[in-house]
């Protein structure tokens, strides 16, 4: 326990995951996780820089921020790094016209993108729109391309809503990969490019940042691979693996610096913020 101070020494900026750390989505927008609203407020009052680094791909940044503000969070759109805007930049750079397999809630982020005569597929957390027909359409577009290109906004396995765990975009990305014999390009955590852009926007070096998230692969593993320290919270999708429960081995072992009950667990007292 005494090691926390050392482990978090020199931290100047904090990257915060949103879903499962600040709130759990669900009926009526979802609910804030106990203590998180105050924790964000205290971080912002401190000397630390704060940036929100999310794989949210079902809502536009605007809608997400409005929802969080309604739940009491001090957050603005300019403080959020999200995969949809990052994808738009890549599409423009490479002159690609996507077929979009995305939720209606995030479609507005692609408003300036040409989607006629598609030459790639973009898949995001489409939720209810992950129907057989929509998956099949994306599959057919890919199979007709000479060189199929698939972008996936994150590759999370699942996330937590107030009603329980929900399939994320990752399983559907894997389905299309398997069907077409291809590998998707992931935009979002754990891709290093995504963390680097969040650091750039926050103006803090990797060695001076800490990532706080509930996903051992996307948040913890991804951050650590970029040299960012990581802290896993026991909220959101975090599960204790009981006797009968399937133990989900989430890939190569990642060891978070600290695992805490919520983001206002004791690690942050070390900052005296």
């Amino acid at each position: 326990m005494a090691a926390w101070g050392e482990r978090l020494a020199g931290v100047r900026g904090v990257l915060l995951d949103i879903s499962g750390v600040l709130y759990d989505g669900g009926e009526g927008g979802g609910a804030a996780i106990a203590g998180s609203v105050e924790a964000v407020a205290r971080l912002k009052r401190s000397r630390l820089k704060v940036r929100f680094c999310t794989n949210e791909s079902q809502k536009s940044r605007g809608d997400l921020v409005r929802l969080l503000r309604r739940l009491g969070f001090d957050i603005s759109e300019g403080e959020v790094t999200a995969p949809a805007p990052a994808t738009c930049l890549i599409l423009k750079e490479r002159g690609l016209r996507p077929h979009l397999l995305v939720h209606d809630g995030v479609r507005s982020e692609f408003g300036q993108i040409d989607t006629s005569n598609p030459n790639c597929v973009v898949i995001a957390d489409a939720g209810e729109d992950f129907s057989y027909q929509n998956m099949n359409k994306a599959f057919q577009v890919l199979m007709e391309l000479e060189k199929p290109i698939l972008f996936s906004l994150g590759k999370g396995r699942y996330y937590k809503e107030t009603s329980g765990l929900m399939l994320d975009v990752g399983p559907y990305m894997k389905a299309l990969e398997y069907a077409c014999g291809i590998e998707a390009e992931v935009v979002g955590k754990p891709s290093p490019e995504f963390f680097k852009s969040a650091l750039r926007e926050m103006g803090v070096d990797a060695s001076q940042a800490v990532m706080i998230g509930d996903d051992i692969v996307g948040d913890v593993g991804g951050a650590q691979r970029c040299g960012i320290r990581a802290l896993q919270v026991r909220t959101g999708k975090f599960r204790k693996t009981g006797k009968r429960k399937r133990r989900v081995n989430l890939g190569p072992a990642h060891y978070p610096e600290v695992t805490s009950d919520n983001i206002w667990g004791s690690p942050f007292q070390m900052f005296r913020v």
Partner: protein
Amino acid sequence: MAARRALKAVLVDLSGTLHIEDAAVPGAQEALKRLRATSVMIRFVTNTTKESKQDLLERLKKLEFDISEDEIFTSLTAARNLVEQKQVRPMLLVDDRALPDFKGIETGDPNAVVIGLAPEHFHYQILNQAFRLLLDGAPLIAIHKARYYKRKDGLALGPGPFVTALEYATDSKATVVGKPEKTFFLEALRGAGCEPEEAVMIGDDCRDDVGGAQNVGMLGILVKTGKYRAADEAKINPPPYLTCESFPHAVDHILQHLL
């Protein structure tokens, strides 16, 4: 082949081997009669995710094949057997037409997932339900893992991608029960009282029929009907025990050389 024991059982694929859609392979009914005149046990084995045994039987009877229902062993039968062995209550993600093959199986309060080709079930809420069962430790049983199939309006996703999705979400592996899995062939021989070395498989799919059977120690005969394409026999190593024109030729070979 010197050490081979006497032939006791013959497994025969259906679609592409005995018939092609609604037409029998010429001479196949007669050939089957010749085979029946011997003492070998015959089983008809097929990968299907939507046709029940009853459906298959009706089609074969229309084509005047002499076959009884208990001689048919399908990937659905294999799934049912596994469900019974494990004594689980499955959530059945299969085509409605396949349901008769699961008659009598308890499905309330499910603690297992059986998945076939069932586009009408492959929407988010149902898959999420399956996902939550799997996270709670339910086994995942897949009829097969085909990537896609051909429909009149083009290619369409098979069950494989959705099985893969659930496997990834839960970091687990499905038990696949259809051809070319070893257990499929072993299960088909169960009750025949013979070893794989005493059986031969006849089919038109080099990998799934012939390769799969040979992997468990059976002899595999590839027929050049159905989905067979030139040089298919080169797709597996070791190659098929025999490649011949059609089912009647395969039967002739068995009668002359293996009995």
